[in-house]
């Protein structure tokens, strides 16, 4: 009889088994609940309504209309010869025409108040890749990036997982509408120092996710002063810049740099993408725009790991260069988002719920702290769970966004039809009414 010797199973890396992907957090648990019981207005009207996905579906018709009137864009642009180069094209510089189009589009989104040089545009397969790539370039394993809270839950994964870089939060609170202050920045930096962690940069999201608000010009100035003083980098994730409800509300870091004559700009890098503004997350189009030549060169080479399909570049180059289309799209998209925002704010107000005053993005930042029995994370998660299970809405709890004050929730409104939004608001209304009649004495 042979004796079986148990072979030790072959090991995986620490990265492979780490939990840094964060997919066990409530942010993602809600998604699972939605996947299992998704709302559909006819076939599943009592299903879970997904309000946790920051996707923009309000302007698809504009894109479809464009493609219908420009059939060559969907096939091969310049025809047969165009294809040949295209299929082989894997140059990490990206198609010149596409880079030109992106630079032009970025300028348009900022009302031409800032100009972008196509040679500083580095292409990546989505902003997720862009943020990770920049982190690889700007920081070593063990270093840290400062990130103002509340922030997009995905950053925990995107900035830290493979890079080995830490996030040190910059605490913001409702006393001043969660704006970043020099005091908070200094405090975060000192905290990192005390932990013997080297801070390599500050990453801001402007307009902010999850706040749904733009960062004021004066605050941007303070931020720029801070990073210059500490001699660190600044990454400005501006993927929602085209989702500001009016063009003038949004001030890009590019504008601030211009007003300072580009002094100290080598420490600044902008991340952009077409996933939010153009509603094309499936296309995987992101970009890094850096004022630092070395970062541009390095990022370009590193983008080999995350190139955009040449076919997609070709497809979008013509569309984004068509100024009459883009101008109309940007304007119309803003208007529709604003309308949605007003609808949801109004609906929530009727239900007795306040939100942070927002002016951008695909979501609003809702305040339910008055419903918490105790201002704790546990109570917030209980409330979140109740809303998920009973009200059948998946919204994102502030704790997933590392918000320092419990009771805030991010609610997305652009990834559904107007009718569905109405249904969601009705449910919320009913929920709040129910709580009133029950004497408001529920344990959360």
């Amino acid at each position: 009889m042979t004796i079986e010797v148990e072979q030790p199973s072959v090991e995986l890396s620490k990265i492979a088994v780490s939990e840094t992907h964060g997919e066990h957090s409530p942010y993602f648990a809600g998604w699972k609940a939605y996947d299992e019981d998704p709302y559909h207005e006819s076939s599943n009207p009592s299903g879970v309504i997904q309000m946790g996905l920051a996707e923009n579906q309000v302007s698809f018709d504009l894109l479809e209309e464009y493609l219908e009137h420009h059939p060559q864009e969907a096939s091969w642009g310049k025809g047969a010869s165009g294809f040949r180069e295209n299929a082989l094209f894997q140059d990490y510089h990206g198609l010149q025409s596409f880079r030109n189009a992106m630079a032009s589009f970025m300028g348009q989104v900022r009302g031409e108040r800032a100009k972008f040089n196509p040679d500083r545009v580095v292409l990546t397969a989505g902003a997720t890749a862009a943020n990770e790539l920049l982190t690889f370039i700007l920081a070593n394993p063990g270093d840290a990036l400062l990130v103002p809270t509340p922030y997009y839950p995905g950053f925990d994964r995107d900035l830290r997982w493979r890079t080995g870089v830490n996030i040190v939060p910059v605490h913001c609170d409702s006393s001043n509408n969660f704006q970043v202050t020099p005091k908070a920045l200094d405090a975060a930096y000192s905290r990192a120092e005390a932990m013997n962690i080297k801070v390599k940069g500050l990453l801001i999201t402007n307009p902010s996710n999850p706040l749904g608000a733009t960062i004021q010009r004066s605050v941007l100035g303070d931020i720029l002063d801070f990073v210059t003083r500490k001699n660190i980098h600044l990454v400005s994730d501006e993927i929602y810049s085209g989702s500001a409800f009016s063009s003038t509300e949004f001030v890009s870091i590019a504008e601030v740099l211009e007003s300072r004559d580009y002094k100290d700009s080598e420490r600044v890098h902008i991340v952009y993408s077409l996933s939010k503004d153009l509603g094309l997350p499936g296309f995987r189009v992101g970009t890094i725009y850096s004022y630092n030549d070395k970062v541009v060169t390095t990022a370009r080479r590193m983008s080999s790991f995350t190139l955009i399909s040449s076919q997609t570049q070709q497809l979008l180059a013509s569309m984004l260069s068509d100024k009459s289309f883009t101008q109309n799209y940007i304007k119309t998209n803003r208007e529709r988002l604003k309308k949605r925002y007003q609808a949801i704010i109004g609906g929530l107000r009727n239900a007795g719920i306040d939100c942070l005053e927002g002016n951008a993005g695909l979501f609003c930042w809702m305040n339910l702290s008055q419903l918490l029995e105790k201002p704790t994370r546990e109570c917030e998660l209980d409330l979140w769970n109740t809303i998920l299970q009973e009200v059948k809405l998946n919204i994102s709890p502030g704790s997933s966004c590392h918000c320092s004050e419990p009771g805030w929730f991010r609610v997305c409104f652009a990834n559904m039809s107007e009718q569905t939004l109405e249904v969601a608001l009705t449910r919320i209304h009913q929920f709040m009414e129910g709580r009133k009649t029950n004497g408001g004495n529920l344990n959360f």
Binding site: V10, L53, F83, D119, R162, D264, T306
Partner: protein
């Protein structure tokens, strides 16, 4: 497993060569002692730098941006190439810095030269002919025709609906495409094995696929064993951001550059002595740059080795559909099927860049038998996802059975014809190639043309070929080949008529 002793390759000159090679091998394998082990590579490195500096045609390898807006001009004039930028600008990471040095290697220098002065039979007949990029243009016309007829509908569907492709898709690829790719992989491997779509993670090209596996199977500071010569970009793919090392396992012309377990053992032990933990072996099959196919026995031995050391195997089979010889291609998947190997240690990399001539579309595959790797890889795919419209297009294309069947067959025939003609052409010049059964290139022995049988001599010849013959070829040293004088010449970016031109150009150098 072939047990070969040190064999001389013939003649007195070869004996001298061996006297150079053997200590060189010893250094490579760490036996030469710390001093020799550091001095010789350093000397070579400094010589290479000096040598390239002398022959480089322009001082600045970086393309300068054109027409900067006035406001930015000041920034760009302070070209920051060192981390200690002017005015105390913030530093970049160690990882960022290591890139800058790579750009000086012959592989990249050559590619750059071609892009600056490319050959065109009509408009630029004196330009540099590209034989350094393993890309296949031979059958593009077939794909082109298909696309012209089918593209629009495939991407948008009959109702031009964009929401289907615009919205967030599963970041590891659409199941429909995984099914289609699994089918294609099986087809190119002549149905010897079938692939399960659920074990596939799609990535934006094979480059991130390899990096992803490196991240999953090894920690920073660990190492992979890689049979050498291996293709230049593997260094970037495996090492750059992961911090994982590559330990080359030298293969020799005497063995037809095949992999021996002795060499694997030796390399493994050397790694151990250096305090490096080996986590796996990475093979390319068909191999690049040699064009070898792994035979059954070697694959069995490799799996035995992996089991004995409890390590992983990554098999890069991206050229499986580009075989052109009479030898049969055997995937590691086929071996696992037939024996009771621990599947958890086997992972395959594939992609559509080579076999379907679509490198621009960025479609790569991580295929793994390990559940835990699959779970991790699916989450990591978000950093390098395949674009949705491209996925749709390829689902259509790969599902067109007639087209695919015809493509695979025709492509192989064209590859074979070009290979034969090219190798014959080289033979006329007295240049022999290693027998190859796959890939877009031949592995040519130009050692007798070297002025000195050394890396220096090889680079000198490479330089002459680039600047005098005006062809870009890849020197064996860029592929970590321990025997000087071998060059990889890709023939799939040529038209048939270009072959005599290339041969004549090489003759300029061989007869000087």
């Amino acid at each position: 497993m072939t047990q070969t002793e040190e064999t001389t390759t013939g003649g007195g000159g070869a004996k001298t060569a061996m006297r150079v090679i053997v200590p060189l091998q010893g250094v490579v394998q760490g036996r030469g002692g710390l001093v020799l082990g550091s001095i010789i590579p350093c000397a070579l490195f400094y010589f290479l730098q000096f040598y390239l500096k002398r022959h480089r045609s322009e001082p600045d390898p970086e393309p300068a941006p054109t027409d900067p807006p006035a406001g930015l001009h000041r920034v760009q004039s302070r070209l920051v190439l060192s981390p200690r930028g002017l005015g105390g600008a913030a530093h970049v990471s160690g990882r960022a810095n290591s890139v800058a040095r790579q750009a000086d290697t012959p592989y990249y220098v050559g590619l750059k030269r071609v892009s600056e002065d490319p050959y065109d039979v009509e408009s630029s007949p004196d330009g540099v002919i590209q034989l350094g990029l393993a890309e296949n243009k031979l059958s593009l016309d077939l794909v082109q025709k298909w696309l012209a007829a089918n593209a629009r509908e495939s991407i948008l569907g009959r109702d031009l609906s964009i929401s289907g492709i615009a919205t967030y898709q599963p970041l590891d690829g659409l199941m429909e495409l995984k099914v289609a790719v699994a089918g294609f992989m099986s087809q190119v491997m002549e149905k010897t094995v079938s692939f399960n779509p659920s074990q596939i993670v799609l990535t934006a090209g094979a480059t991130p696929a390899i990096e992803m596996l490196s991240f999953c199977l090894a920690d920073a500071g660990n190492a992979f064993l890689v049979p050498s010569p291996y293709y230049p970009d593997l260094d970037r793919d495996v090492k750059w951001r992961t911090g994982v090392e590559i330990i080359p396992v030298p293969c020799r012309s005497a063995d037809n550059f095949s992999l021996s377990t002795t060499a694997l053992d030796r390399a493994f032990n050397q790694a151990k002595k250096r305090g490096l933990k080996v986590r796996g072996v990475i093979i390319s099959n068909p191999s690049n740059p040699v064009g070898n196919l792994f035979n059954r026995e070697t694959l069995y031995n490799l799996l035995d080795f992996a089991r004995e050391k409890n390590i992983h195997i990554i098999s890069n089979e991206i050229l499986a559909g580009s075989t052109h010889g009479s030898e049969e291609f055997i995937s590691v998947a086929e071996i696992i099927d037939s024996e009771d190997f621990d599947r958890n240690r086997v992972h395959i990399v594939y992609g559509l860049s080579k076999d379907l001539s679509l490198p621009g579309f960025r479609v790569g595959v991580v295929y793994t038998f390990n559940e835990n790797v699959l779970v991790a890889a699916k989450k990591l795919a978000r950093f390098s996802s395949v674009s949705a419209p491209t996925q749709r297009l390829l689902i259509s294309m790969l599902s067109d059975a007639n087209f695919i069947q015809n493509f695979i067959k025709t492509n192989r025939e064209r590859l074979r014809r070009m290979y034969i003609e090219f190798v014959d052409g080289l033979k006329q010049l007295g240049i022999d190639c290693m027998k190859s059964s796959g890939g877009f290139y031949c592995w040519a022995d130009m050692s007798r043309l070297l002025r000195s049988y050394s890396e220096e001599g090889e680079l000198e010849l490479w330089d002459k070929l680039l600047n005098v013959a005006k062809i870009n070829v890849t020197p064996g040293s860029s592929c970590h080949c321990i025997e000087p004088g071998w060059f990889r010449l890709c023939f799939t970016t040529l038209e048939k008529n270009d072959i005599p031109i290339v041969i004549e150009r090489i003759r300029k150098v061989t007869e000087s």
